[in-house]
């Protein structure tokens, strides 16, 4: 049933009317979420979508091209700082600022891609990690970037100041729509990249870079391109993240964030768009909402406090959520090596062949 008969069928956005219907339904739900969701969740949705953009971009690099990066918090930071700087010092309109910032990030991605031509696995991991740390250090050490005190984000003005057009987004609702639309564009874009010549070259490099070179894939171009594209996504995500937060300092983009990004991609499912989306949504939700304030949960909370008093310390009870996240991560990988995307495929198969 998943047989493709020609190329155009493969690149088609909606494979069938069923897919079209469900995509439309999903879009409708996404666009109407603010109607029936309490206000405080919108912020969480915004963060999740920013992470989705990043995870989809990182997945192009890690999942499709097979390169590892532990420095994506660095690109994320370049996006955030770049956008804010462009808007405050150069008075550029938001759209232009975020694009320039993302291109700067992409340029750095290209530079990081150069050593990647010779390195792989843990060696590349250390280089990218060193890159992330260096970026943070430079930003923290320079007063242009606000140093370690952090920077205050200007109001999110979609209009162009020079022409006197101003359309300032203030509430989380308004930002939600901006981020949602950006996310959709970026996700569709990623899908198109992967379905075309470039994407196939990436996959060829992942499966065997030497074989790819033999059949005519230019390694220099495509490996650095993969880094640049991925960094571009991270830059866009970073630019939006700054406005979601309103204030940030270099410590926000620490090394742990890079690792979390990688976890999102692997837990979601390597090499698939849906995997990046699901992983980002799950991990962000777990981090921000699950098992927080455990002592306030009825019954269970009291039990946990009692257990803590007996064997542990009550003051450390909050760490329970970190333990739970760790176990969930391990569980997903143990039971489903393809990540959440694997779970999804299984569910789909089960229902498609249902009574059998």
């Amino acid at each position: 049933m998943d047989m493709k008969r020609d190329y155009y069928e493969d690149v088609q956005l909606f494979k069938s009317n069923v897919v079209l219907f469900w995509s439309a339904a999903l879009l409708l739900v996404l666009f109407t979420i603010p109607l029936y969701t309490p206000n405080y969740y919108i912020y969480l949705f915004n963060i999740i979508m920013v992470h989705i953009i990043l995870a989809v971009g990182l997945n192009i690099l890690v999942g499709s091209t097979g390169q590892i990066s532990l420095g994506h918090a660095g690109f994320f930071a370049i996006g955030a700082y770049g956008t804010v700087l462009m808007m405050t010092t150069f008075q550029l309109p938001f759209v232009l600022a975020i694009l320039i910032a993302a291109f700067i990030a992409a340029f750095f991605g290209f530079i990081l891609g150069l050593p990647a031509l010779r390195l792989e696995g843990p060696y590349l991991a250390i280089v990218s990690l060193g890159f992330g740390l260096t970026i943070m250090h430079i930003i923290g050490g320079m007063d242009v970037f606000g140093g370690r005190m952090g920077v205050k984000v200007p109001p999110l003005d979609l209009g162009i100041k020079q022409l006197g057009i101003s359309w300032i987004l203030t509430t989380d609702f308004q930002k939600y729509y901006l981020i949602l639309i950006t996310t959709i564009i970026m996700v569709v874009g990623a899908r198109n990249i992967l379905k075309t010549r470039v994407g196939r070259s990436f996959v060829a490099i992942r499966d065997s870079d030497i074989a790819a070179e033999v059949i005519g894939v230019n390694l220099t171009i495509y490996k650095t391109l993969a880094f640049a594209v991925s960094a571009f996504y991270a830059g866009i995500a970073g630019g939006l993240f700054g406005f979601v937060l309103g204030f940030f300092d270099p410590f926000t983009f620490n090394m742990i964030l890079s690792i979390i990004f990688l976890v999102m991609v692997v837990v979601g499912g390597l090499g698939t768009i849906a995997g990046g989306i699901m992983g980002a949504a799950l991990i962000t939700y777990l981090q921000y909402d699950l098992l927080k304030n455990i002592a306030e949960v009825p019954y269970f909370g009291a039990l946990m406090v009692a257990v803590s008093k007996q064997w542990f310390t009550v003051v450390g009870l909050e760490n329970f959520s970190s333990m739970a996240i760790g176990l969930i991560m391990i569980g997903i990988i143990i039971f489903e090596p393809l990540g959440m995307f694997g779970v999804w495929i299984r569910m789909k198969k089960y229902w498609m062949t249902w009574p059998f």
């Binding site: 060696y123 990690l129 890159f131 740390l133 065997s208 990688l262 692997v266 970190s322």
Partner: protein, 285 residues
């Protein structure tokens, strides 16, 4: 200088733990730091809650750390079916978060005092201006012992040879009658033990808290990569280089100290993609 070398040796020692696991199973163990942290906490607990003498506590901790390594391998890594390398890394990250949560739940986040039975104020000054502390001597001695032991172990014992065989080709080793699973458990237990020793050195230098092994782990990982991830002497030298570079630059440009080592590593890797002390192997298609 000596201090830098000692810190470097400590990084190297800890990096050895990373390398042992990497050598057998090609997994970079991100939980290494937290495993060492947990073992150090166990030592602290035995010392403070039961008031055992240090050496007894040390032996118990060593046994515990072996058990911890084997347990993590057995519970978390072994059940994974067809794991990818990245999948394995995520599992170790999960184990890291779990251990960190458990330790902070059990002992709280406040810093603890941990000391080795060494008098910190005893120092030696063989050459003018070169001060050697007890701590540094202990680090050098322990590192040398472990190096010697590892050398003999990998060269001459059956288990050591089996471990090397497993690393080179898991399937062939299995066919030759080596129980590769047992080798993995052994590697994890062993690496956890070395990590715990290094962890105690770090803890006695700074403080003991649930996050104290994060930075040393990164440094050790970098040192391991600098040394080439495969050769144990190379890793020790990598660690020593790391300590020296950091302290040398730290003296003149304290501002850039935290990243200078990483920049040097990036440059080195650009020239020698497999680290300083391994032969660059040619990949086959």
């Amino acid at each position: 200088m000596v201090e830098g070398l000692a810190i470097g040796a400590c990084y190297g020692l800890f990096a050895t733990a990373v390398v042992i696991i990497y050598k057998t199973s090609e997994v970079v163990n991100f939980a290494q730091g937290e495993m060492a942290m947990f073992s150090s906490f166990v030592a602290f607990h035995i010392l403070s809650a039961y008031q055992y003498p240090f050496w007894l506590a040390f032996v118990i901790t060593m046994l515990f750390s072996i058990l911890l390594g084997i347990l993590i391998e057995f519970l978390f890594l072994r059940p994974a079916k067809h794991p990818s390398i990245l999948g394995m890394i995520v599992i170790t990250l999960g184990a890291e978060m779990f251990l960190m949560g458990l330790a902070s739940w059990k002992w709280g986040a406040e810093q603890k005092f941990f000391s080795l039975p060494l008098n910190p104020s005893v120092t030696y000054e063989p050459v003018k201006g070169m001060i050697i502390t007890n701590w540094a001597i202990a680090v050098f001695a322990v590192t040398a012992c472990i190096m010697l032991f590892l050398y003999i172990f990998f060269k001459f014992t059956r288990l050591g040879v089996a471990m090397r065989a497993t690393q080179q080709n898991k399937h062939a080793a299995k066919i030759m009658g080596i129980r590769t699973e047992r080798i993995f458990s052994f590697a994890w237990g062993f690496s956890s033990l070395i990590g715990a020793v290094a962890g105690m050195f770090f803890a006695s230098r700074a403080t003991l808290d649930p996050a104290f092994m994060m930075e040393p782990f990164l440094r050790a990982f970098a040192a391991a990569v600098l040394g080439g991830l495969m050769s144990i002497p190379g890793v020790i030298i990598g660690g020593a280089l790391m300590g020296l570079i950091e302290n040398f630059f730290g003296y003149f440009w304290p501002h850039w100290k935290p990243i200078i080592a990483f920049i040097v590593i990036i440059l080195v890797l650009c020239l020698r993609p497999s680290g300083l002390f391994t032969k660059h192997y040619v990949k086959k298609v």
